[in-house]
Symmetry: C2
Subunit: 243 residues, 2 copies
Amino acid sequence: MNQPTIQEAIKVACSNCNLRELCMPVGFDSEDMQKLDEVVATRRRVKQGDLLFANGEEFTSLFAIRTGFFKTCISSADGREQVTGFQMAGEIIGLDGIVSDFHSCNAIALEDAEVCVMPFANIEDLSREFPLLQRHMHKVMSREIVRENGVMMLLGNMRAEERLAAFLLNLVQRLHARGLSQTEIVLRMTREEIGSYLGLKLETVSRAFSKFSEEGIIEVKQRYVRIIDPEALKKIFNPQTYC
Amino acid sequence: MNQPTIQEAIKVACSNCNLRELCMPVGFDSEDMQKLDEVVATRRRVKQGDLLFANGEEFTSLFAIRTGFFKTCISSADGREQVTGFQMAGEIIGLDGIVSDFHSCNAIALEDAEVCVMPFANIEDLSREFPLLQRHMHKVMSREIVRENGVMMLLGNMRAEERLAAFLLNLVQRLHARGLSQTEIVLRMTREEIGSYLGLKLETVSRAFSKFSEEGIIEVKQRYVRIIDPEALKKIFNPQTYC
DNA sequence: ATCAAGCTTTGATTCAAATCAACATAAGTG
DNA sequence: CACTTATGTTGATTTGAATCAAAGCTTGAT
């Protein structure tokens, strides 16, 4: 079902990875860290547009994103698509598959990407040995649950501009945590994909971008976005705190 | 922050609990099952309208619902409420607290309830000892993630009647799995709470109920609902499969 | 039993976002 | 490069759900 991808047999090591603080728990000594390298079996490259995994595929591994950008999405029986998340370097993807041993969404690379393949059996074995890793995995899953709670609030209660403001703030915050600019973004997704995530149509997303631009809150040119006035965005997202 | 509740020191045992197949993994021998009883420290009663836990409270335990019915909800800075789920007997509540060690939602009893208090430290200790329990906890969290994915699809893509149909079908399915009627429900929540969960206003929920009733799909009288034509509900929720 | 408060239903009107439509811009491809 | 296709913007119109409003039911308390 997936496009062919290169399976690299190169030796991979979390212990040397610059994303370690994002994917992995902190506080291990170097000896334990060596053992933890066993969670990652191999790396895998995924080309832009290709599937990392697909709905219905057997679940065997979680994936830690090393480089690149993904979306996860589900579709209803009559073909409506819902983007359920956007994932970037250092984030874990594939948690949906644990419950049934089959994936229940598609994960698609929005740019050329590389992931660390972490066989779930390895994760479970090492989690029993290392309480810190166990705790870490629990937190990763809980974080995803809490994120989705927030999305429910967005979709259930927020207006189009509030949703887009929240989306932009979340994106820059995560990019900033990875050492990228707090003010400039090059979006990896289309207006339609943003809209799908936020429960809006692409025209509505485009209009909200234009509105923010007219108001001098952001500068937009296609996928390039510069945040001129982050406080204004926060105020739109969260009016009460600012009145 | 919570209303006072009775802390019962009675000896509790999963090994004898009729909800065991819902809360706990299957496949243990009776000796291991005895050890697993340690996961539950005590039971706690929660009166209708009272909080099981509140946003901001320290997270120490997960709760398995023995009897009763809960809602979980979050509120935005300016006071908008979003119900993030309804939980019934045999379900686990409190997963939101794991990531930050503080709860990020309120859990409120919609009827008098009793829960098993499972200190998270106990769960983690026993999970390291018993791979089946470890796997079970992972599945519980993954199931919650997948449920929320489905809610995102509902809120992002579905119309009011489709949302209500999905909600009713989900509810009867879960009640049926607990040995209750597949056709008759007494709702534990108000129209407003249903609306909050589904991203709708209470009037819209009421109108959708009335519409289904006029069409002979359900019989409604306040909180009482009888499903006359479940296939029609499935068709509304999921038109493609039926055309 | 009576009253008050909370919930539910229904109708009239408004409004935010969807839809329909046209064009502009960018990105790929042979 | 020219041409096709994908993506993005903007305007006009429609529409589904929100809002505003009023009345009917239930439930629980005095």
